[in-house]
């Protein structure tokens, strides 16, 4: 079974080769794909696996971006330290939000999480002293060891490994008893409870994980975009993440990457149709949920490739 180490070596080679071979534009796009995929990974956990619809991902991403930037701008905490701190706090918020699932499920949960996104966005607009209000705020540069990472070419070395780490971790956790429990909860909460699973705790943990991943993604995307505009973090953004998750494949971490790649790269090929972009994305979401609800990662050839990989990682059957 030398396939896995081989692939690993190839991935590492590709990782170091890319910045040498690709122009800034593509490296920037790779960073954007990785950061978006990280936010979508949160949705994969909470909505895809645990079956709890969340329209709050936009809020978590916003809190991560704003939180880390405010810490850096007002208190001089460098982003590399601020992002994890903020992410842990936001994860706590996610856990609290998850407690809500004790009483609420299905469309009520969709509504409640929608309201959370709306409230956070309004707070960003109205808390001017801290957030710069409707005008937005500039993001301090990502400084590490006295060096400011400003371009996509430089941030690449932070965003891509972090995303890869979380994707691989998520994949392993999904294969373990934790992923099993969430999958069971998605299929029947009643039965999962009756089999002795503390369903509420699992659901709250899934929300916490999605909040954490969303906040890290927000923190990493902030220096990439260099400016935070509260108008961006609305309901449309939440649906954007959902669309990516559906198109990529709701239950698959690699699906998050595939979906993000589609949504980030597609605009490049639709240069002439910029004003139709939103419509194209919306139609993609609608088409996939009706015709292929399991997304691109469920395509037969992709699944086979995935199975091939997994046979070498998972415990022997």
């Amino acid at each position: 079974m030398p396939l896995r180490p081989l692939l690993f070596a190839a991935a590492i080679l590709a990782f170091f080769a890319a910045p040498q071979l690709l122009p800034e534009f593509y490296l920037f796009q790779i960073c954007l794909i990785a950061g978006t995929a990280l936010a979508v990974l949160g949705l994969v956990v909470v909505t895809g696996l645990a079956g709890q619809i969340s329209l709050a991902q936009s809020a978590f991403v916003a809190l991560g971006g704003y939180g880390a930037s405010i810490l850096a701008a007002s208190w001089g905490v460098p982003l590399w330290a601020g992002i994890p701190v903020v992410a842990v706090v936001v994860a706590g918020l996610g856990f609290l939000l998850g407690q809500m699932t004790l009483r609420v499920a299905g469309h009520y949960l969709a509504l409640a999480t929608l309201a959370v996104t709306a409230i956070v966005q309004l707070a960003l607009i109205h808390w001017e002293a801290l957030t710069g209000g409707a005008a937005g705020m500039a993001v301090p540069p990502f400084e590490i060891m006295g060096r400011a990472l400003t371009s996509g070419r430089e941030l690449y070395y932070v965003i891509v490994p972090v995303t890869a780490l979380f994707i691989l971790t998520a994949q392993n956790l999904i294969a373990s008893r934790f992923g099993r429990a969430l999958t069971a909860i998605r299929q029947s909460e009643t039965a999962a409870e009756a089999m002795g699973l503390d369903v509420l705790r699992y659901k709250a943990a899934a929300f916490a994980a999605s909040a954490f991943l969303g906040a890290v993604a927000g923190g990493l995307l902030a220096p990439l975009s260099t400016y935070l505009d509260p108008a961006q973090y609305g309901i449309t953004y939440a649906i954007y993440f959902l669309a990516i998750a559906v198109v990529g494949g709701m239950t698959s971490p690699t699906g998050a990457v595939i979906g993000s790649a589609v949504f980030v790269l597609l605009p490049n090929y639709l240069q002439a149709f910029q004003s139709y972009l939103g419509l194209v994305f919306a139609l993609l979401l609608l088409g996939f949920i009706v015709l292929r609800p399991n997304g691109l990662s469920s395509l037969p050839w992709l699944r086979q490739a995935g199975a091939l990989l997994h046979r070498t990682t998972g415990p022997k059957p």
Binding site: A175, R177, R180, A181, T183, A191, A192, E193, V199, P315
Partner: protein, 262 residues
Amino acid sequence: MTEALLRIENVSVRFGGLVALDSVTLEVAPGSIQAVIGPNGAGKSTLLNVITGLYTASGGSILFRGERIDGRTPHAITRRGIARTFQNTELFGEMTALENVMISLDRFYAYGGVTAAWQGRHYRQIETSARDEARELLALVGLAGDENEAAATLPFGKQRRLEIARALATRPGLLLLDEPAAGLRAAEIDALNRILLDLRAQRQISILVIDHVMPLVMAISDRIAVLNFGRKIAEGTPDAVRRSPDVIAAYLGEKAAHAVGS
């Protein structure tokens, strides 16, 4: 007399104006097979649901091994040793038969998040033992060979047995079965009876079984209680219950009761 394993005392359950259980009292003795029968809508499933904490009682108390369990969450009740199946099977449809059973077992083969993320040798050892026990349980209910089938694609009779295996995997002291024989063929019912008797003999599991059909329950139960419109109308040995005019009336209507009685 030994203390009851499960004791239900004056338990009532209401849905709006509807009284689904009306001050029902019932005991399950350790090591016994207790049956509850009754016509459609009598409140049998409601009884299981209130024992397992899915419904809240509006009155009364439920004791398991001498401790109050009413008001606790369903998973806490399961962890104390009460397992159940569902009338309309509630399997994890997209998961394999093996995974269905492992859901209940995972609690006994615990490991932390870091172990799971790293997936080293320790992790593989624990997972392998969990898998082995799940396989044994599947074999016990006659599902050896179906481990990797998705639960939803199994034939109906096998789904029923998978529910039992999954319930057993919680390592219960008391097993609650909601109409396990409904829709099964005669041969399958015989096999089911044998499994239940073996469970009691070899694993010291007490059983509370709900059924519609008298003959099945009759063959294996020690005592039968009869529910009708949320009330317990009779209880006793299978023979006594079969002869009770109230029971005949409940099932066949007043006229038949008179006909049999006269």
